[in-house]
């Protein structure tokens, strides 16, 4: 028996040296970070870190969670993180950090790959952190205001990111691990959701405002929310949202179609130096709003609306592709990646001149819209 106990005891002692994460640190000794913003100081080239942390003294049962802002600066991201400790009792705890907001200055002039490297390699940070770009002057401008529903603005941004793709279809959440994998994959540039401040009931609120387009590791421009929607159509990333169109000859839209399901298939053909990409979009929609009192039991009327919707999707998706080709020269649709996956040899030849090739790609968009539900009430 004594021998047995001794064996177990010795095994336990061995454990001390074998395990990795066994440091005991109590919850009350940590400053919980909910969201973090990074800016670049153009004059000193230093990183400015803005952390939204939980203010446990102000948080009460009635008032809910309150947050405060902790700022620091440093030569590298990690340096800035550690410098924050100088003005805090306890270390910043990153395990429950939900978003990283990049200031527009940093996004334009910094290096995205370098910035996210710390988040990826630190033990505490999650790989599911959502990354967004601030359209305001600094990242702090986004993080320092109160959310509309949730006083923790980082949580609000996270919720918006998670639901937007299914409900509005303007931005796509790109978690940290996907940012990394997109940056590392050939023939593909990254887009990140952009956020700006807006007025709501005379108070400031954050709002998703389209996508920020990157080329390599630097941001080069934005897509408006409407453009972003058709960007998402092109990359098979749309799960919801509204298509508006006019069922009559007038300009004013009077029909709302809610997207229930949409699938996009892309393919390419290459012959004699001509690269052609075909994008097939198949969309199921519900008819949600119809101002003109049309007879919806009329098959031809429905077909007519479907046709108009198809035309809109085709035209605007094409428009976005052309805009990106001409203005940004950044392959955010992953056409190059598609070629790399299907024909690596061909891609090897193309890769050096991809920046020249990409704008010259002929993109063809074929759209099919099916109205699966007319929600027709009564013929009046």
């Amino acid at each position: 028996m004594i021998k047995k106990i001794a064996c177990v005891g010795m095994a336990m002692l061995l454990l001390l040296s074998l395990t990795g994460c066994w440091s005991y640190h109590g919850l009350n000794d940590m400053t919980i970070v909910t969201g973090v913003g990074l800016d670049l100081d153009p004059s000193t080239k230093e990183y400015l870190l803005t952390a939204e942390v939980v203010d446990s003294t102000a948080s009460t049962k009635e008032a809910g969670t309150k947050t405060k802002i902790v700022e620091s600066r440093g030569k590298t991201v990690m340096d800035a993180v550690r410098n924050a400790k100088k003005r805090l009792i306890s270390k910043l705890y990153w395990g429950n950090n939900e978003v990283l907001v990049l200031g527009s200055e940093l996004a334009k002039n910094g290096n995205l790959g370098n910035v996210i490297d710390w988040l990826l390699t630190d033990a505490e940070c999650r790989e599911t952190v959502g990354i967004v770009v601030s359209q305001e002057k600094t990242a702090k401008d986004i993080l320092s205001i109160d959310g509309l529903d949730n006083s923790v603005v980082a949580f609000e941004i996270k919720k918006i990111l998670e639901a937007d793709q299914n409900d509005v279809g303007t931005v796509e959440k790109v978690p940290l691990f996907r940012v990394f994998s997109i940056l590392e994959s050939p023939g593909r540039s990254i887009v990140l959701p952009a956020f700006h401040n807006t007025k709501n009931d005379d108070k400031k609120a954050v709002e998703a405002n389209g996508e920020a387009v990157f080329k390599d590791n630097k941001m080069i421009g934005y897509l408006s929310p409407e453009e972003s929607k058709y960007y998402l159509f092109a990359v098979d990333g749309i799960h919801g949202g509204i298509l508006t169109l006019s069922s009559t000859e007038e300009e004013v839209p009077d029909v709302s179609l809610e997207i229930s399901k949409s699938t996009t298939k892309s393919s390419y053909s290459y012959s004699e130096g001509n690269l052609k990409v075909t994008i097939q979009i198949n969309t199921d929609v519900y008819m949600d709003e119809l101002k003109a009192h049309s007879d919806l039991l009329d098959e031809s009327k429905i077909k007519e609306i479907e046709k108009k919707a198809q035309a809109i999707v085709e035209e605007r998706t094409k428009g976005v592709i052309q805009k990106v080709q001409t203005e940004y020269h950044s392959d955010i649709f992953g056409f190059g990646n598609m070629i790399y996956k299907k024909d690596p040899k061909l891609w090897k030849g193309m890769e050096p001149q991809w920046d020249i090739l990409f704008p010259s790609i002929q993109a063809e968009v074929q759209s099919k819209v099916n109205i699966v539900n007319t929600s027709f009430l009564k013929h009046t």
Binding site: L15, T19, G26, L27, V54, T65, N96, F155
Partner: protein
């Protein structure tokens, strides 16, 4: 195969007892009644409850008798009417060599009689409420059954109360207990074998089983282990459990305990063996499977839908009661990433300005809870309610308000406490396992917790009850065998008995299985 504890006997005690037994063994009765009575008197010197009464026959003055018995354990009415009266008034016997036989056949009005020459038998009988009849000129005595002692009524056992079903409970009298079983199982297959345990107490025990159902190897093993028992007193069946169990140091139960006849019969019919012990209402059943910790007799008396759910809850309760404090400490002190952010913030808020770290807090609160529970068990019932109010108020409300304890810790302890009541049969092991896991979690976080839990399960998987694995996860598991485990299948579906315990699998002929397909 068996991990049988090696008991180091205390040699001195042994010698004394052997000496006593030897004295009783060697001496037998003589033809002189007077000297026999003197022997008895000497054996029972300083025992004032011993009564010795001389009797002379009215018709033949040469017929002299003497009776000896212990006051308090006999019925005076029986002795007066059925022993003394006929001995005095009978004219049916003559002082000849068949006197003793004639007395038994023609005179005493006692159903159970036995002739004996041995002092040992006499001593055992007197102490058990029998009357000894000595006859002048005979070297034999007659043991006459005159037992008449007070017994408790057969009330429903306090700690095994049920909502519906039979409400009888055992009392401290072996024969009355056996009668409860005999009355309900009216077959000659129900065997009852008496043995005697305890060098001093000479306690009667009865091994009870149904011959055609049990596994004979198991019965042999039980006898072998009971034979090895060598102890001065056996006051409760727990003595037998501890002296015969497979893993001597395990906190988990190795035998089933019950005070309910219906439970014993249920187990007998599943192929188990029951051990009754005189002087205690608690009856042992062996072998004991781990799943029995989660079974209750009521499971079989209520709707199987309801009781399947209850079974499931008990198993969940077992996991919760051992794991919740350890998991809480592991997550709050090591792996905070496991918590959803909102929960993390609210726990962090509650833990603000609480003086102790989570781990010591957990140890202290669990200790306080165990103290409260222990006082609750041992205390007179009229103090119970005020104490529980004080306990709840002091620990729950005041401690949180005074910022001595974080509110989540109270919730953790409350869950632990309440769920432990779901498995009352595992009170002791659950407490030890809980503390063990908590220590592991405090030292190594979730790693330690998982390691500790694995250790506990390896231990449970290693447990045997009389050579039969208590928890079997082997590939030989059959569908019929799990019908009374996590769920309780309807009676018409439980066609066979558990294979490891029985030689006769068929509980029910399947074509008699009620009005279903």
């Amino acid at each position: 195969m068996f991990h049988f504890p090696v008991r180091r006997k205390k040699e001195i005690v042994n010698e004394q007892v052997e000496h006593l037994n030897k004295e009783l063994d060697e001496n037998s009765l003589s033809r002189s009644m007077k000297s026999n009575v003197e022997t008895i008197k000497k054996l029972f010197s300083d025992v004032d409850t011993l009564i010795i009464r001389y009797i002379q026959n009215n018709h033949n003055r040469d017929l002299k008798f003497c009776i000896a018995y212990c006051d308090g354990v006999v019925s005076s009415a029986i002795i007066n009417e059925n022993i003394i009266k006929p001995l005095m008034l009978s004219d049916a016997v003559q002082p000849d060599e068949f006197l003793i036989d004639h007395l038994i056949e023609n005179v005493v009005l006692i159903s159970e009689t036995q002739k004996t020459k041995h002092l040992k038998d006499i001593v055992e009988s007197i102490t058990y409420g029998d009357t000894i009849l000595f006859v002048e000129g005979a070297d034999e005595a007659v043991i006459l059954n005159s037992k008449g002692f007070q017994t408790r009524s057969m009330d429903e056992p306090e700690n095994e109360k049920i909502l519906s079903g039979p409400r009888e409970g055992f009392n401290e009298s072996l024969l009355q207990n056996l009668s409860l079983i005999r009355r309900k199982v009216r077959t000659n297959e129900l065997k009852m074998k008496f043995i005697t345990l305890g060098r001093m107490t000479r306690t009667k025990a009865c091994i009870c089983y149904i011959d055609k159902i049990i596994n004979k190897k198991l019965l042999k093993e039980l006898y072998r282990r009971l034979d090895l028992i060598d102890i001065d007193a056996v006051l409760d069946t727990n003595y037998i459990t501890e002296l015969t169990r497979d893993s001597a140091w395990s906190p988990f139960r190795a035998t089933g305990y019950t005070e309910r006849p219906d439970v014993v019969i249920g187990k007998l019919l599943e192929g188990r063996i029951a051990v009754f012990l005189d002087g205690t209402p608690v009856v042992l059943t062996v072998p004991y499977l781990f799943i029995e910790n989660f079974q209750s007799s009521e499971d079989y008396y209520l709707s199987f839908y309801y009781t399947s759910l209850a079974r499931f809850l008990r198993i969940v309760g077992f996991f919760l009661t051992i794991a919740v404090p350890a998991l809480y400490v592991a997550i709050v002190a090591f792996q905070q990433q496991m918590l959803p952010t909102q929960l993390l913030i609210s726990i962090a808020g509650a833990r603000r300005s609480v003086p102790l770290p989570a781990a010591p807090e957990a140890f202290i609160m669990l200790a306080v809870f165990d103290v409260l529970r222990e006082t609750g068990i041992r205390m007179p019932s009229n103090i119970g309610q005020p104490l529980s109010i004080v306990g709840a108020l002091v620990i729950g409300q005041a401690a949180v308000d005074a910022k001595l304890v974080a509110a989540p810790m109270i919730i953790v302890v409350a869950i632990t406490g309440i769920t432990s009541l779901l498995v009352p049969k595992m009170n002791a092991p659950v407490t030890y396992v809980r503390v063990f896991l908590l220590i592991m979690a405090t030292a190594f976080g979730l790693f330690g917790f998982v390691l500790g839990l694995s250790g506990v399960f390896i231990h449970i998987l290693n447990l045997h009850s009389f050579g039969i694995p208590q928890l079997s996860l082997s590939g030989s598991l059959q569908f019929q065998e799990i019908k009374d485990t996590f769920i309780r299948a309807p009676w018409w579906d439980m066609i066979t008995r558990t294979k490891s315990m029985t030689s006769n699998l068929v509980r029910m002929k399947s074509n008699h299985g009620g009005n279903h397909d």
